[in-house]
């Protein structure tokens, strides 16, 4: 497992998708591309990602729908919404649904990198907190329980991590 940030970019604009993917790869991101919502969900189900860049307006499943499913299925995944629409309402609604932030297209790469950075930190923080909690739980379990039951609890916690 590499130490690169694993990033999924979802956009129906192929040219945009190709270029931004390449640029982020050059900046040491591990980038996976999806051109629609269904593909994105499928890919996210197979692999574990740190961050998702998600376009709002897409044929098929739109960004909002994809966001809802992703946030439900992947606890620590942080999503940044990309929108050409520029409408404040839809972006605000997405942050309410769990998106980390939004970015209207076209944007400066620096602001994207900044947001990605912040999002990754938040993800790390959350993961750290959860890990901390888990350790405490394990600590509690360690007293007065059989070795087998401790093992069983650990497995349960591990499954929650997704």
């Amino acid at each position: 497992m590499s130490d690169k940030i694993k990033l999924l970019i979802v956009d129906d604009e192929v040219k945009f998708l190709e270029s931004i993917a390449k640029r982020l790869e050059m900046r040491d991101f591990d980038v996976t591309k999806a051109t629609n919502g269904q593909d994105a969900l499928e890919i996210a189900g197979r692999d574990r990602f740190d961050l998702v860049l998600l376009d709002l307006k897409m044929p098929g499943l739109n960004g909002k729908q994809v966001l809802e499913i992703l946030k439900k299925e992947h606890k620590f995944l942080e999503v940044i919404i990309l929108t050409g629409h520029g409408s404040l309402d839809s972006a605000v609604e997405c942050t309410r649904l769990g998106a980390f932030d939004y970015l209207p297209k076209p944007y400066e790469l620096e602001s994207l990198l900044e947001k990605l950075q912040k999002a990754y930190q938040v993800r790390l923080q959350k993961k750290f907190e959860v890990d901390q909690e888990r350790l405490e739980k394990i600590g509690k379990l360690a007293t007065g329980h059989s070795a087998l039951s401790i093992l069983r609890e650990l497995r349960k916690l591990d499954n929650e991590e997704k």
């Binding site: 040219k15 945009f16 629409h85 309402d89 076209p106």
Partner: protein
């Protein structure tokens, strides 16, 4: 609208108002003039007849008196059987005291020779009159007196005579007096009321007996001879090209007819002074009416033009408003290629940056440059489409394929929006739907407004828009159904009210449908709506196949 349009509108309005308001005046004036003329003619007729009768009676009386004067002389027992010239001269003097019409008198023996004569024409003495008609009449005892027509006789001057006879032991004796027609005519002219008419007398053959110089000379053939029956009357006759009413009355004492008519200069038939007055008043009324009408037409057309101009302006504003509603979608359309350009440009910069390893060769960048150009053209196409839609302002009626129009709006202006919003558009175009004579640009605007609303009604959820076109009789129906949130009763009642909107603050202007309604009505059609909450909405445009240029009243 062109100035020519308003000129022709003004002409039409003027003509229509003129026909409505001026025709009755003209007809009334003409009717009045004819009616007045008829009344005048009738009264003139009666007047002339009465005049002829009264003058004829007077003349009858006059001639009877002269005959009685003469009879008194011959019937006088003291009248000598063989009067001398001195006797007759005395008698003539007595007669002339009674009437200055007497010119001379003569005495005839039974052989018809004038044996004695008194008067200015002494050469007539001893002339034989036995073959004269008047003498034969007396000799054959068919009458006791004779009044002759005017004739020249031996003296070669117009005159007429009254002869009375008496039978004595010596046979038939006759006393004859000659009368001066001029004197009689002067007498007639002196009668009351004769000044306003011209009177003359003709005999049975139409020979003029007595007349004013303006009409004819004695013994001329008269151009108008009245009928024998009825004995009095009035007739309109055309003599020498001028029509006039003649009153006449046949005399009892002699076969003469007295004729009266208005002096020619007083008789101008139709264009009498009263008629001219009526004509003058009518003309003034027509002129004043026409000026008022021209003025009103001008004002009316000006009002029409002002309202057209403001409607065009409002229409343009509303169009901009509907474009404003479209702008969100367009922003998406433009921002996407811009984002691509941005990324590709950034990528090229990265590729040439030594910080990312060996810089690439310029030819390796061509692919990205092409791609950038492509995106630029995509933006250009979008702005062009948008400007093309806003710029068209003139209303022009042309034959339009509405299916092509619908496709232009659905695929052109809203195509990408439909795809990214996951709206499935189904089209069911009726094969028998003909081309419409209508304003394509305005219709596009209506379609855009309705489809924009449909998109908004879906609220970012996937949905369907069904477009169905059908022909019914002389109309075409365009159904636009969406699967959006629909409207309740209260909303339905207000959707065509300007500035009413169901959209969030800042999203809708509330002008789209009210303007669409105005446009469709101007194009001779109507908009029907069916909707209920949760069931979507169906807008139906009903358009006439042929639409004439609307000429608004008021």
């Amino acid at each position: 609208m062109s100035p020519e349009h308003y000129r022709s509108l003004r002409r039409q309005t003027t003509l229509r108002l003129s026909l409505t308001y001026l025709t009755p005046i003209v007809l009334l004036a003409i009717y009045f003039m004819f009616q007045y003329d008829a009344v005048v003619s009738e009264s003139e007729r009666l007047h002339l007849k009465a005049m002829a009768e009264s003058q004829a009676n007077t003349l009858d009386l006059f001639l009877s008196e002269r005959q009685v004067n003469l009879s008194n002389v011959i019937d006088d027992p003291t009248f000598p059987t063989q009067p001398t010239s001195a006797d007759l001269a005395r008698n003539l003097e007595g007669l002339r005291r009674i009437s200055n019409a007497f010119v001379d008198i003569g005495f005839f023996d039974s052989s018809g020779v004038q044996v004695t004569y008194a008067g200015p024409f002494e050469s007539l003495e001893r002339r034989d009159y036995s073959s004269e008609e008047w003498y034969s009449t007396l000799r054959e005892h068919t009458a006791s007196f004779v009044i002759t027509d005017i004739y020249l006789g031996f003296r070669q001057r117009p005159h007429f005579t009254i002869a009375v006879s008496r039978v004595t032991q010596q046979g038939l004796i006759v006393l004859r007096a000659t009368l001066d027609p001029q004197k009689i005519y002067q007498y007639l002219s002196s009668l009351e009321g004769s000044g306003e008419v011209v009177a003359y007398i003709v005999n049975l053959n139409g020979t003029c007996q007595l007349a004013a110089d303006v009409i004819a000379k004695p013994l001329d053939t008269c151009s108008f001879v009245p009928p024998r029956t009825p004995r009095q009357g009035s007739i309109r006759a055309t003599v020498k090209g001028s029509s006039a009413i003649y009153g006449y009355s046949w005399l009892h004492t002699v076969d003469w007819s007295l004729i009266v008519r208005k002096p020619p200069q007083h008789h101008q038939s139709f264009f009498s002074s009263t008629n001219l007055r009526v004509l003058g008043i009518a003309t003034i009324m027509v002129i004043v009416g026409f000026i008022v009408i021209v003025n009103r037409s001008r004002k009316r057309v000006e009002l029409q033009r002002d309202s057209d101009i403001s409607r065009v302006q409002l229409g343009h504003a509303a169009k901009l408003a509907s474009v404003g509603e479209l702008a969100a979608g367009i922003a998406h359309e433009i921002n996407n290629p811009l984002a691509s350009i941005n990324e590709e440009a950034g990528l090229m910069k990265d590729l040439m940056d030594p910080a990312f390893g060996t810089p690439v060769e310029p030819h390796e960048l061509v692919h990205y440059l092409d791609s950038i150009q492509e995106s630029v053209f995509r933006c250009r196409d979008i702005t062009r489409k948008l400007l093309g839609f806003v710029r068209k302002t003139d209303i022009e009626l042309k034959e339009q394929d509405i299916h092509k129009l619908i496709d232009e709006v659905v695929d052109g202006l809203l195509g990408h929006e439909m795809v990214v919003s996951n709206i499935e558009v189904t089209r069911d175009y009726g094969e028998d739907v003909p081309k419409l004579v209508t304003d394509g640009n305005q219709l596009e605007q209506v379609l855009l407004n309705i489809l924009n609303n449909a998109l908004d009604a879906m609220e970012d959820e996937p949905g369907k828009i069904a477009i169905v076109t059908r022909r019914t009789d002389d109309k075409v129906r365009i159904n636009l159904s969406d699967t959006g949130k629909g409207m309740n009763r209260e909303q339905l009642e207000h959707i065509f009210v300007p500035f009413y909107t169901t959209k969030e603050v800042g999203k809708g202007t509330g002008l789209g449908l009210s303007v669409s309604y105005g446009i469709v009505r101007d194009l001779g059609g109507e908009i029907e709506v069916q909707s209920s909450p949760g069931q979507g909405s169906t807008f139906t445009l009903v358009l006439p196949i042929h639409h004439e240029t609307p000429i608004a009243e008021n």
